[in-house]
């Protein structure tokens, strides 16, 4: 299905990442937004509140992030594409209901414009230190999808992808921006509505009385219903059976939770989005994501100027699920992975795990507050080359 022109601001714009993300949401058909102001994400909410009245969307500034997250789950179950936006402290508050979203299998998009942490940290400056929280932040076992844009253009494009994934796989999709990308203004091209492909929610075709909210077929993704359609369905955050009824046995736990994991794990090939360059002859591979991927490329250029020609570049666009298979393959061929990230070692743990000791893994840490110096990344590449 194509985007609704009412939400698509077709044209060439000069926008910051936050506003571009808002436009991406509107283009994707988001018409319910609940949020709570927090730097550096507030501009997304502001933009949506300004634009929604013209397209029949509903914006509400909730009393806190707990409420925002719960509200978008409600919005989604009422049949409207829903999103919220926050940053570190708010992301922490959303965690419990992100888990509810995973358990109820509720499509929605949660944007985290990451700032430096922990705690209040650096409200106006970038960080990438919520990456593991995105993976493990809510209690219990589940799988979600997380994407990481590296430019305002991608803030637009990938917010649409985030909605598409969330509808297709019935999961909350975490959109892991950072302050730098969020507050950076660049050219953003917004195509015409009929050039934007949207994945629509798969609603049940069953008649009332026949519908089971968690019955699934081969793709492991149950058809959805929405409130008010007369199915009188029940959903719960408790471990449940196909009817959505609590069944708190280990057998049902195995069935219920395992499927939440499998529906993502079995589809990784479709969910992965990675950008690769110069991998054929690569001796050293630099793996990065978000704004750091741009700075890393500058570091690679410096290394190339210094005569190191065989440097591969991998950029994670999808960060969760992690591209395990690909990293394992590469680990057999290369000398080292270099992983710059704006934290003291998060995604690098995954790289190291997948490398399985077959090659070196070198972290280039950074506490956040600004981006890496390209020279630092260059030095790490040089080290890896040895």
């Amino acid at each position: 299905m194509k985007a609704d022109p009412a939400g698509v601001l077709t044209g060439v714009h000069y926008l910051d990442g936050d506003k571009a993300c808002a436009e991406g949401g509107l283009a994707a058909g988001c018409r319910f937004f609940a949020g709570y102001p927090i730097t550096p994400s507030t501009e997304v909410a502001e933009r949506v509140s300004e634009r929604f009245p013209y397209m029949g969307g509903m914006f509400i500034q909730m009393e806190d992030e707990l409420a925002s997250m719960a509200a978008i789950l409600g919005g989604s179950w009422a049949g409207v594409k829903s999103m919220t936006v926050t940053s570190g402290p708010g992301f922490s508050l959303m965690m419990e209901n992100i888990g509810l979203g995973a358990m109820l299998e509720t499509p929605c998009v949660v944007v985290n414009v990451q700032r430096g942490g922990p705690s209040t940290g650096l409200p106006t400056l970038p960080g990438q230190a919520d990456m593991m929280q995105a993976r493990w932040g809510s209690h219990g076992d589940y799988r979600l999808i997380a994407l990481s844009p590296n430019s305002p253009q991608e803030c637009f494009d990938l917010t649409i992808t985030a909605f598409n994934f969330s509808e297709k796989y019935r999961v909350p999709v975490l959109f892991m921006m950072d302050e730098c990308v969020g507050h950076m203004t660049e050219k953003v091209v917004i195509p015409e509505a009929d050039k934007i492909d949207l994945t629509e929610r798969r609603y049940t075709k069953k008649k009332p009385g026949e519908y089971l909210p968690y019955a699934y077929g081969e793709d492991l993704i149950p058809d959805m219903a929405k409130a008010g359609d007369g199915h009188f369905f029940h959903v719960t955050g408790l471990t449940h059976d196909e009817r959505g009824y609590p069944d708190m046995t280990w057998e049902m736990q195995e069935k219920c939770v395992h499927r939440l994991i499998d529906k993502i794990d079995k589809n990784v090939d479709e969910i992965f989005m990675i950008e690769e360059e110069n991998m054929d002859k690569a001796e050293v591979v630099v793996i990065s994501y978000g704004i750091t991927s741009r700075v890393a490329l500058r570091g690679i250029q410096l290394a190339e100027q210094a005569g190191m020609k065989n440097i591969g570049r991998m950029r994670l666009i999808t960060v969760w699920p992690f591209p395990e298979k690909r990293i394992r393959e590469l680990a057999k061929k290369v000398k080292a992975f270099v992983v710059p990230e704006m934290n003291y070692g998060q995604m690098v743990l995954e790289v190291e795990r997948c490398a399985g000791g077959q090659c070196k893994t070198i972290l280039v840490p950074h506490g956040g507050g600004t981006v890496h110096k390209p020279e630092t990344i260059y030095q790490a590449i040089k080290e890896a080359y040895k």
């Binding site: 000069y14 106006t124 203004t185 050219k187 500058r298 981006v371």
Partner: protein, 189 residues
């Protein structure tokens, strides 16, 4: 590879610093078909009433998003001059608000161009267009963003209904710059 232009724009809140940066960046990225990245300073340098923006303009995609060493500074307050004036080195360009900034000689070969933008805006009856005068001045002096592109960027960035006034302000700044260049009434600080 041609060197990127790294532009620092600073002043105090209410002068429209960010919009000035936005217009310059937009002129380059959209109407001159180059690459540009604008970063508003949210960091410690944005404290108090001061306000700063950084614009990088390049022929290729900008990888490192922040200014490393500005080659152009557009400074619209004493405070901004004191904070950022020292970043420039030989051959760089400094644009200043003539009545608000008194540049001191520091031995570096910096081309300093001054414009009484606030006074000119007041003469137009609208102090609010000071920043647009500065943008016109910037285009005329540096030629980093073309006349056409900058003009279009002004037109498409200001609130509807104020285009005429703002374009007039732009022309005022631009013409002032052109005249200044021909009379070479510039200062080498």
């Amino acid at each position: 590879m041609k060197k990127d232009n790294e532009i620092r724009i600073a002043g105090f809140g209410g002068q429209g610093i960010i919009l000035a940066g936005y217009i310059i960046g937009k002129a380059a990225a959209i109407y001159d078909d180059k690459f540009s990245t604008l970063i508003q300073s949210f960091g410690p340098e944005a404290r108090g009433s001061s306000c700063a923006a950084q614009v990088i303009i390049s022929e290729s995609q900008i990888l490192y998003p922040y200014i490393v060493k500005p080659n152009i500074a557009m400074l619209m307050s004493k405070d901004a001059y004191e904070r950022f004036g020292g970043e420039l080195t030989d051959g760089d360009i400094m644009l200043i608000e003539k009545d608000l900034v008194q540049p001191k000689k520091n031995g570096k070969k910096i081309s300093v161009y001054a414009i009484p933008a606030t006074r000119l805006a007041e003469e137009m009856g609208r102090k609010i267009v000071t920043n647009i005068i500065m943008v016109g001045f910037f285009s005329a002096i540096t030629q980093i963003t073309s006349y056409e592109a900058t003009r279009k960027a002004v037109e498409s960035s200001v609130p509807p209904g104020t285009q005429e006034l703002n374009l007039k302000a732009f022309e005022t700044g631009y013409n002032y710059g052109k005249k200044l260049l021909s009379s070479s009434e510039k200062n080498v600080a």
